[in-house]
């Protein structure tokens, strides 16, 4: 009997990456909701270095960092592969996974949390990242993974819902269908994939959560 547990947090896109991968492969797991900021003793024990979610625990052994968890899931449950077979295609996928995570994350957060001049800079950088994804990151197929979603799509997966909510809270719409037609089409297709559609945080709840975060961040900036 395999024992798989996932420690996550409902508004976290990183949590959802792991949920999507597990569900796409039909892996049964127990979900443990971490009550931030009160991190459980177990979480601190499983991820002493970063003290963050998500953490996947398989047969009692923890794996931390969402992208590393995704590779672990892919290697441990090879059915319904989420990475290409060809080594070069895999390298390309890994490159885009890294780009989406390294450039996407901090840039989008900066856009979401900053004000004034800092936000203007963040908007510019976000537009550049979106442009790179639009022109180079998506490829020519329905999804980056081809006809079905793969790990790259999963990594970009916070554009719909999370980034959309951020734009709503900030009051600036950057990802317009006219300026980013391919990204927009990708997002619409992605949201329709059953595993994704059935596993997204509630829009209103996330909006409220993001509103609180932005208000608090803006207040800190004004101090």
């Amino acid at each position: 009997m395999e024992e798989v547990k996932l420690h996550g947090f409902w508004p976290s896109p990183f949590s959802y990456r792991v949920i999507w991968a597990l569900k796409l492969k039909g892996v049964k797991y127990d979900y443990i909701e971490e009550d931030f900021p009160n991190k459980s003793k177990l979480l601190l024990q499983y991820n002493p270095v970063h003290k963050k979610i998500p953490v996947l625990v398989h047969r009692g052994k923890p794996v931390a960092e969402s992208l590393i968890i995704l590779e672990y899931i892919e290697e441990t449950w090879p059915e319904n592969p989420l990475l290409p077979k060809d080594a070069y295609e895999r390298a390309m996928a890994r490159f885009w996974i890294k780009y989406g995570d390294e450039k996407g994350g901090p840039t989008f957060y900066s856009f979401f949390l900053s004000v004034g001049e800092e936000q203007e800079k963040a908007i510019k950088e976000t537009m550049e990242v979106l442009k790179v994804l639009e022109e180079k990151g998506l490829g020519d197929k329905k999804f980056v993974g081809g006809d079905t979603i793969g790990l790259v799509d999963i990594t970009f997966g916070w554009l719909p819902r999370w980034f959309e909510c951020m734009e709503e809270v900030v009051g600036v719409k950057l990802l317009q269908p006219t300026t980013f037609p391919r990204l927009h089409a990708w997002m619409e297709n992605f949201k329709e994939v059953p595993v994704i559609k059935e596993n997204l945080p509630d829009h209103e709840k996330l909006l409220a959560h993001f509103k609180r975060i932005r208000e608090s961040s803006v207040a800190d900036t004004m101090k």
Binding site: V49, A64, L67, I68, A91, M92, R94
Partner: protein, 228 residues
């Protein structure tokens, strides 16, 4: 073993480039090394890595791959002799986790400590010490020569720059954090790592590194964009 039409774009001082040199040499793969001038990047580099415009780039059969960790994975999957990653998913996750840790926490703290001064530098140094404490714990816990076990592997290759480049980050940056008394297991690892023939025969000379880091210091933080 020859890698048909294999080029490595890099520089003779780049710590990221050497990861690839070591991996290729460990597997006995022949390749052409193309020295890049990072202040005057070649059309080939700009074409091969248009997004980051950085080295190293591995070009195999005309197809380019960027980002050192992605390249290491590719090399291990393409040339299966002398594997640098385990086949066990848990062990692979372990190596990847600590590689990410070194490239994020340790490396970024090093940049802070090197380029900044006063309290900002002190914060950087403190972060390095924290990171080093974690690495010390890991290598001490393994009770083996290397992170990879009896022979060097993926994680040793990624951590490897600390064994040779880091002393110049300290020297030129004007701080000291490495301490064989505080981090004895890491110190042993460093000595063992530098004795591995493939590593020993493929390290940039001390004077070159000192000169390069002095150049970086003069450039200030702008150097981080140009370098690697």
């Amino acid at each position: 073993m020859s890698g048909t039409d294999l080029k490595l774009l890099g520089t003779k001082e780049s710590l990221f480039t050497y990861r690839i040199v070591w991996a290729l040499k460990l597997k006995g793969i022949e390749y052409e090394f193309v020295e890049e001038d990072l202040f005057n990047k070649s059309p080939l580099l700009l074409e091969s890595n248009p997004i980051y415009k950085k080295v190293p780039v591995l070009i195999h059969g005309g197809k380019p791959i960027s980002e050192s960790l992605v390249i290491l994975d590719y090399i291990d999957e393409t040339w299966k002799n002398n594997p640098i990653l385990s086949t066990d998913p848990q062990e692979r996750a372990y190596a990847r986790f600590w590689a990410k840790f070194v490239d994020e926490k340790f490396y970024e703290a090093s940049i802070k400590a090197f380029f900044l001064t006063g309290e900002d530098q002190a914060k950087g140094v403190e972060s390095i010490a924290e990171a080093l404490q974690f690495l010390e714990g890991e290598i001490a816990g393994k009770k083996k020569f290397f992170f990879g076990g009896e022979a060097i592997g993926f994680l040793d290759i990624v951590v490897g720059w600390i064994a040779h480049w880091f002393q110049f980050v300290e020297e030129v940056g004007g701080f000291k954090v490495m301490d064989s008394m505080k981090y004895p297991a890491f110190d042993s690892w460093t000595k063992n790592f530098l004795e591995v023939p493939v590593i020993k025969e493929n390290l940039p000379p001390h004077e070159e590194l000192r000169r390069v880091f002095q150049g970086f210091q003069q450039m200030g933080l702008a150097a981080v964009g140009a370098k690697e």
